[in-house]
Subunit: 349 residues, 3 copies
Amino acid sequence: MSHFFRLGDLAQRVGGRVIGDPAREVRGVATLEAAGPDDLTLLTDSRYRKTALRTRAAAVLVGPGTSLPGHDLLETAEPYLALAEILELFHPPPPRRAEVSPDARLAPDVRLGADVEVGPFAVLGSAVSVGSRSVIGAGCVLGEGAVVGEDTVLRPRVVLYPGTRVGARCLIHSGVVLGADGFGFATSAGKHRKIPQVGRVIVEDEVEIGANSAVDRGALGDTVIGGGTKIDDLVMVAHGVRIGPDSLLVAQSGVAGSTRLGAGVTLAGQAGVAGHLEVGDGSIIGAKSAVFEDLPAGSFVAGIPAVDHRIWKRAVTHVKKLDDLRREVRSLRERLRVLEAERGGGAEP
Amino acid sequence: MSHFFRLGDLAQRVGGRVIGDPAREVRGVATLEAAGPDDLTLLTDSRYRKTALRTRAAAVLVGPGTSLPGHDLLETAEPYLALAEILELFHPPPPRRAEVSPDARLAPDVRLGADVEVGPFAVLGSAVSVGSRSVIGAGCVLGEGAVVGEDTVLRPRVVLYPGTRVGARCLIHSGVVLGADGFGFATSAGKHRKIPQVGRVIVEDEVEIGANSAVDRGALGDTVIGGGTKIDDLVMVAHGVRIGPDSLLVAQSGVAGSTRLGAGVTLAGQAGVAGHLEVGDGSIIGAKSAVFEDLPAGSFVAGIPAVDHRIWKRAVTHVKKLDDLRREVRSLRERLRVLEAERGGGAEP
Amino acid sequence: MSHFFRLGDLAQRVGGRVIGDPAREVRGVATLEAAGPDDLTLLTDSRYRKTALRTRAAAVLVGPGTSLPGHDLLETAEPYLALAEILELFHPPPPRRAEVSPDARLAPDVRLGADVEVGPFAVLGSAVSVGSRSVIGAGCVLGEGAVVGEDTVLRPRVVLYPGTRVGARCLIHSGVVLGADGFGFATSAGKHRKIPQVGRVIVEDEVEIGANSAVDRGALGDTVIGGGTKIDDLVMVAHGVRIGPDSLLVAQSGVAGSTRLGAGVTLAGQAGVAGHLEVGDGSIIGAKSAVFEDLPAGSFVAGIPAVDHRIWKRAVTHVKKLDDLRREVRSLRERLRVLEAERGGGAEP
C-alpha cells in the first residue's frame, strides 16, 4: 500500500497528540513484533513494554502518560478507540456487490431493500424481509418470516429459523444458528415429551454474534439480545433469556433459560449463568465461573458457585494452603494433649 | 387467531380440572407478563407468584394445590405435560411440502420413503436411505450410506458423515455434525499419528439434538445415542460413548471417549464426564461439574471433581468461610501459647 | 470382507512379534466386546482385562509384557501406533473422484492443483488457491484469497474467511469456521466499538480440526495453528493465539486472545487458558481447568485457577474433608476452654 497518513493527521482524527515528529509517514498498522518502519503499532499493556522498546514501528499509539524513549508516540485518552478508527482508515470495507446471486433461492414473496447482496446457495423462505444494503452470505438459510434489518451482514452459512428477527447494523458470523428450539421437555414416568417452543429470537440493532454460537427461540415469549450486545464464538443463549443492551458474552460462555442479564454485563470466557436468574447492570462474571443466584447491579463475581471476586481470590489462596492449615491443627492438637496430660485430666475423645 | 378452546374443554383434554369458569375462552398461550385476556398462562415456580397475581391472562395453568385469588385456574397433576399438549393444539405443525427440491443433489441409488421432503442444496450421497415423511432441510449433507428413519426432521445444514444412522421421530437441529472422526491419535516421539476412526454414530428413535452439537463416530465400535435422549445445543459426545435411553444433556456439556451414561441420566449445563467411565441410571450431574470416576445408579453429584452434591454444598460453604477458620486456628494457637507459657514448658515449635 | 492378513504378516508390518499362531487369519479390527473370531482386537488398559479374557477375537494387540491365557497376541512397543497402521490396511481411504462438481461456484481466477475434488454447492471466491489432490467438501465456502495446501481435506460445510491459509495434509471437519473476526472492541462510555480484525488465520501442515470448532483471525497479526497440532470438536481459539507445533486441544477447550501455547502442549477437555499468557512446551492442562498465569515448560496443572496437579489433588482431598477439619477445630477450642477454666484465667473472647 503506497497510500499513507502523517502521524499528525492521525492524531487530529482521533483527538490525540503527537509526542515526536508529526510529519512521520504511516502506511499500516501492525503488532509490536511485526511492525516495520512504515507501521503504527500499539502499546497498552505494560507487560509488553520491553517488546515495545525494540519495535521497528514508525510510531506507537499509547494511552496517557506512557514514555517510550527513541520512539514517536501518538498519545490518546482511549488508545483502543483510536486504534479502531485508524484501522478503519487503513482497511476500508471491500466494495459491495449488491447483487442477488442467480444461485440463491428466494420465495416469491421475499422483500429485499435497496442494494441487498445475497450469496450463492442462500435460501430465503416465504415472507422473509431483508433491509437495504444488507448482505446474506453464501449458504445462509432464512426461514419463513425471518426479518433482517438494514446494513446488517450475515456471513456464510448462518441459519435463521422461521420468525427470527435481526436488527440493523448487526454482524452475524458463520455457523451461527438463531431460533432453534429451546430445550424444554415435560418429563413424565421417565419419558421426555417435547414442549413446543413457540416464541422467537429477537436480535436488536448493532449486535455482533461470533462463529458457531446458538441463540434458542423462547418457549412462550421471546429470547432477546439487546442492542449493542457483542457475543463471541461458541456461546449458548437459551430460551427466554434477555440480555443487554451493551453486554459482552465472551467465548464458550452460556446463559440458561429465562435468565435476564442487565445492561453492560460482562460474561467472561467459559462462564455460565443458571436459569431463572437476574444479573444486574454492569456486573462482571469471571472466566470459568458459574452464577447460581441473582446478582445486584455492579457485582463482580468469580468461582463455582460465583461469589464476590475478592472472597473468591482469598478462598483460592486458602485452598492452596489447606495443607498448612491441617498441619497446624494437628500440631495444636499435639500441644494440647501435652498440656492435658500434664494436669492429669481431659482424656482425648 | 380467532379459533378458541373453552377452558373446560382444555381441562378435559389434559385430564385436569377447572377452578373457576369452564366456559372461559382461550385463544393462545403466553408468559405471565405477556398474556392478554384471551391467553392461558402458566405458573409452576413460586418465585413468579407475585407476577402471576398481576397477570391479565384468561386463565392460569397450575399444579395441584395452587391458589391464585381472582384468576380462573386449570389445575393438573403435571402442568408441563399439559402445557405441551395445549401448545400442540394452538400451534399445529406447518403443512408439509413432501417434495424433493430440484436444487437438491441425490445420488442415483438414494432410497426415499413416501412423502419425503428434501430442501434446496441438500446433498445425499450414494446408498443414502430416508424413511417416509422425513424432512431433510436445506443445505444438509448426508454422506454415503447414511440412514434416516421415518418421521424424522433434519433442520437446515445438518451433516451426517458416511454410515451415520438416525432413527425414527428424531429432530436434529441446524449445524449438528454427526459422525465426524473421534479424537484418536497414537503419539510417538512427540508426533501424533491419526488412528482411523472406523466406527459409526447410531442415533436411536425419538432423539432430539440441539444446534451446533457434535457426536463423533466410534474408533472401532459405534457411538450410540439411546432412544428418547434429548441433547441441547453445543454439546460434544466423543467416540465410543453410549448414552441413554431417555437421558438429558444440557447445553455445552460434554462426554469423553468410551464413557457410558445409563438410562435417564441428566448432565446439566457445561458439565463434563471424563473418558472410560460408567455413570449409573438416573444419575444427575450438576451444572459446571466434572465427573472423574464411575458413579453408581441414582447418584446426584456436583463440583470439580464431582462428589455427592450434599458434600459439595457443605464444602462450598466451608471454602467461603476459610477466612474464619484460619482466624480461629490462629486464635487457638495464641491461647495455647499463653497456657504453655504459664506452666513454663512446651516451647512453641 | 474376504481379504485377510495373517497375524505374522501384521506383526512384521508394525515391527511387533506374535505370541501364539502367526498363521492366524485376521479379516478386521473390532472392540473387545464386538470382535468375532476373524477380528483383531486391542487391550491397552488393564481395566478391560476381564473383558479381554472373554473376547472372541482371533488375536489381541497388546503392549510389552501383557499375558492373556488362551489368546494369540500381537505384541508391540507402541500398540496404538500399530493399531493406526493396521486400521489403514483394513480401511484404505475410499477412491477419490478428483472432479469439480458442476454445482460448485468458482471465481474465474481460482487456481486448482492437479486432481482436486470440489463438492456440490461449494463456493470458492476470487484468488482462492487449492493444492493438488485436496478435497473441498460439499457446501464449503472459501473466501477471497483463501489458500489450501496439497493433500488436505475439508469436510462438508467448512468456512474459510478471506485470506485464511490452510497447509498441506490437513483434515478440517464439518462446521469448522476459520478466520471469523476476533472479539475485539474499544469500550467508551458503555458502548462497544468494533476494532477491525485485519490479521489472518494460518493453519500449518498436518493439522486436524474437529467439528464445529472456531479459530478467529488476528486483530493485527495472525492466529497460527502450528504444524502437527490436533484440535478436537467445539474448541475455540481466539485472535492472535499461537499454538504448537504438535499440541493437542481436546473438545470444548478454549484459548483466549494473544496467548501462546508451546510445542506439544495438551489442553484437556473443557479446559481454558486466559489471554496474553505463555504456556511452555510439553505442558499438560487438566480437564475443566483454567490457566490464569504463565506456565513454564513441562508444567502439569489442574484446577481453577490451575496449579500444579499434585497441589490440586491434595487441595481437592482437603476440601472434601473440611467438615472434619472444622469439627476438629471446634473440639480443640472446647478442650482449650476446659484447660483455661481449670487454671482460672483467659476468658474466651
